[in-house]
Symmetry: C2
DNA sequence: TATTGTTATACTCTATAACTATA
DNA sequence: TATAGTTATAGAGTATAACAATA
């Protein structure tokens, strides 16, 4: 597949806006994370699926997809790609032969570990100008904004943007 | 029967991350802004173009597009749509008959005014849980993150005073 | 009959490149 | 020859719906 599109909309409102700033910084953060996953030859959504599978192994493919807001037909494509790379495996459950329980391979786990390390390095770069207590403050303030936006604290952003 | 991390439905990083939070909140903010512009039968990019045109009237179509990172052929589509709605006009400059100088119609200006008001209402909702000094703090901290991310600050004035 | 996974398809969106008219 | 705008088109990505196997 192809790297995320490069379109940006750079004109904000004529006042200092939390909303516009969040959109701007969120988009750039996601873009940079896309470059990070790219170094491991995967996209952010592959990383998201691998994270979800690791957190809840042997769940069904559509179950994982539902948790991430990814439609079933798209999940097939994503898991196909991960399987082609030897990062994930589909298992048939004995109880219900329709479902394909997902789990990471050893290779998948080590790649996910490495990508996690790279993500931590990104986090460090993003927060480079913040004192530790400022970072805590920022997270606390963003928590209040999160509540106002009605965003569930536990769910990954939909990598498809829909 | 219930695993320890049953509460964690999604699969974000196992540490509290500024980057992940920014992606999440930025995406949701943009989504909600899309619904706001939708109430005026336009998309965020139409609003962005109208804002840029209002800020720099009688600039060329491609000049506006360059400032927003929108390719020339896409600008044609956007300006076509705005023109069809009677919100914008293309003028031929006497000096160079190739360029189409853009300016908002009266209808375009009043729609843009109304959309700005709606955007301010969104900003108020987003910041509803923040004390005024907390909002200032948040913007200051995001400014430091902005620098680390390498995102240019918007150099737009603040005529509304807020 | 309902559900999981898969496949096929139609639709949208975007950007590249060709084309025009001016310069 | 170069540039502003336009048009045509091909490509990627997505989601809807049909289909197969199993329950």
């Amino acid at each position: 597949m192809v790297p995320p599109d490069e379109q940006r909309v750079g004109s904000g409102p004529p006042w200092v806006s939390v909303g516009f700033t969040l959109s701007q910084l969120g988009l750039e953060t996601a873009r940079q994370f896309g470059r990070i996953t790219g170094q491991f030859d995967i996209e952010p959504r592959h990383f998201a699926v691998m994270s979800a599978v690791r957190l809840a192994p042997d769940q069904s493919q559509q179950g994982i997809g539902d948790g991430l807001g990814i439609p079933a037909s798209t999940m097939v494509t994503i898991v196909d790609q991960l399987e082609d790379k030897g990062l994930i495996e589909r298992r048939h459950l004995t109880s219900d032969r329709r479902t394909r329980a997902l789990h990471l391979t050893a290779k998948g786990e080590s790649l996910h570990d490495a990508a996690l390390e790279a993500a931590k390095a990104q986090e460090a770069r993003i927060c480079a100008e913040l004192e530790p207590h400022e970072r805590e403050q920022l997270l606390e303030l963003l928590g209040k904004v999160r509540a106002s936006l009605g965003v569930d604290a536990t769910r990954l952003p939909d990598p498809a943007g829909g």
